[in-house]
């Protein structure tokens, strides 16, 4: 049973209080009905399923009820970070090497990644 930090409750809680909600940062198109079959299928079904850092959604369903995002290593099942729904996707390099990456221009680094569903 994992121990998961809820960014809203600001503490670690047992997995039994949570429900996993699949890959994070999938973007539901605002013009979804005009999407091509391929784009829609990519959104609906095709997944990164990485062996390594997994960006995923959780809901603290038996706690505060909030959906949030997490970065977890799918090999060790260790969480690197959690962040609230709607917050930008954290930079992988920073997560993996918190000391070596300088603080320079963090916003610039993160912002463009926030919207896309790509690493």
């Amino acid at each position: 049973m994992l121990l998961i930090k809820c960014p809203y409750c600001e503490e670690e809680r047992p997995e039994l209080e949570f429900r996993n909600a699949g890959e994070a940062h999938l973007v539901r198109s605002p013009a979804i009905s005009e999407q091509s079959d391929e784009d829609f299928a990519a959104f609906l079904y095709f997944r990164q399923n990485p062996k390594g850092l997994q960006f995923e959604r959780w809901r603290h369903i038996h706690g505060c009820g909030r959906f949030f995002n997490a970065v977890r290593d799918s090999v060790s099942d260790k969480f690197l970070t959690v962040y609230k729904a709607g917050e930008p996707r954290p930079d992988v390099e920073t997560l993996l090497n918190p000391e070596t990456v300088s603080d320079a221009e963090p916003a610039k680094k993160r912002a463009p990644r926030a919207k896309k569903g790509e690493l």
């Binding site: 039994l16 079959d37 391929e38 990519a42 399923n49 997994q54 799918s74 090999v75 099942d77």
Partner: protein
């Protein structure tokens, strides 16, 4: 290949079993093969075997990053059945069962296919509706599956708790008598031995690290930790790791990999004569020939490549087992383990060509791939050899996730109301 038989055993007994040959050799990889199969699990080895046996393609390498049969083949609860609802699923699983029935003789390896019957319990009216739908569809497809009354359930499996006071009383069951189990390791070893005998190279401890493609996009080989190996056709049969391998060719898959746990009890004298499954209370159980209760647990809720899962998953599974079989609470869990299962959105497999010429994929078996092993390998070999799917696997495409033509067995079971 020296034939296995009781006479061979007797002969060897006289000379301290010094005369047995290696069941398969461990050759060094050649620089080129006609076909490379990535993954030496049951499905991959069966594919190689049928490529050699039925299509005359023997210049084949099966590459395995660990030891053959060490993935889900060696980690599953070995349930075999074919009583699936849709024609597409029934077609492939029944193809497999027909092969199971003669597999020991075909491979000259006792895979211990034990048609002891698979009984799926109905606990509410919704279950009854769903099972009857299966039974009728199976009957018209020529597949055995019959309805049992609670009394017949008890007769078929005496230790089961038939009490009306049970939280979810058993109100009937669907029984496929030809369903059962087989010895998982023997399936991998039997296919490996028979394939190797026909010239197939099984190369263990050989991890694929890249898929090599020509300028026109077509596959030309793979990179491995033991160097590049050329082949114009590559079949990926990597179960939980399919996404990882396919990603090397730039193909994203409709797959997620989850940890699936299973466990066995200490061995006890025969008690449970068949395979019992219950979707409503979420458990399945059979007793191995060795006497261990073989129990399948659920998947964890998150994707993972860890081959480990949480204790709470085991808790829930054993809750259900002890509810069905209250006499089992004093048994002990002897071993538990995890596998990585690759799950598609419709819980049906993908056995198909891919957008990359020369690259074929066989994946998405989720929690139930073992039962399909011979059938899957058989039609996948056809697909690779002919560069077109067999009639049986033609519906199991990648494109169905774009068109919406899903083969959704799970959805067909719907949810109770």
């Amino acid at each position: 290949m020296r034939k296995y038989s009781v006479f061979a055993l007797a002969r060897e007994a006289l000379r301290a079993h010094k005369g047995w040959e290696q069941q398969w050799t461990s050759p060094e990889p050649k620089s080129e093969y006609d076909v490379i199969i990535v993954g030496a699990g049951g499905h991959g080895l069966a594919t190689a075997y049928y490529l050699a046996k039925e299509h005359g393609i023997t210049n084949v390498a099966v590459l395995e990053k660990g030891w053959l049969g060490g993935g889900n083949t060696g980690r599953n609860t070995t349930i075999i059945r074919s009583n699936y609802l849709y024609d597409e699923s029934a077609g492939i699983y029944e193809h497999a069962v027909k092969l199971w029935e003669g597999l020991s003789q075909d491979l000259n390896y006792n895979v211990m296919y034990s048609a002891r019957g698979v009984m799926m319990l109905a606990h509410n009216i919704h279950d009854v509706q769903v099972f009857k739908r299966h039974i009728h569809a199976n009957r018209l497809n020529g597949i055995d599956n019959e309805w049992l009354t609670p009394e017949q359930v008890k007769e078929f499996c005496p230790p089961i708790n038939l009490s009306a006071d049970a939280r979810y009383p058993i109100i009937g069951a669907a029984l496929q008598r030809r369903g059962g189990t087989a010895r998982h390791d023997a399936v991998a070893w039997g296919y490996a031995r028979a394939a190797a005998d026909r010239g197939v190279h099984i190369i263990q401890n050989c991890e694929v690290t890249g898929i090599r493609r020509a300028a026109n996009g077509a596959v030309v080989g793979v990179d491995t930790n033991r160097g590049p190996i050329n082949a114009k056709k590559v079949g990926v049969v990597a179960a939980g790791h399919t996404s990882v391998i396919m990603n090397m060719a730039g193909v994203r898959m409709p797959l997620e990999s989850y940890p699936l746990q299973a466990l066995v009890s200490e061995p006890v004298k025969p008690l449970i004569p068949c395979v019992i499954m219950s979707n409503t209370v979420h458990a399945y159980i059979s007793q191995s020939d060795k006497g261990e209760m073989v129990i399948g647990a659920g998947t964890d809720q998150y994707t993972s490549y860890s081959q480990t899962g949480g204790l709470h998953i085991i808790n829930h599974t054993l809750d259900a087992i002890c509810e069905m079989f209250p006499v089992l609470t004093r048994l002990k869990m002897l071993r538990s383990w995890g596998g990585i299962v690759d799950v598609t959105p419709d819980r049906s497999p993908i056995l198909a060509k891919t957008p990359v010429p020369g690259l074929y994929v066989n994946c998405g078996w989720g929690t139930g791939g073992f039962k399909a092993t011979p059938g899957s390998g058989n039609v996948f070999a056809h697909t690779i050899a002919r560069d077109e799917p067999h009639r049986i696997n033609a519906p199991f495409t990648l494109e169905r996730f774009t068109t919406g033509r899903l083969i959704d067995e799970a959805a067909a079971a719907a949810v109770a109301h």
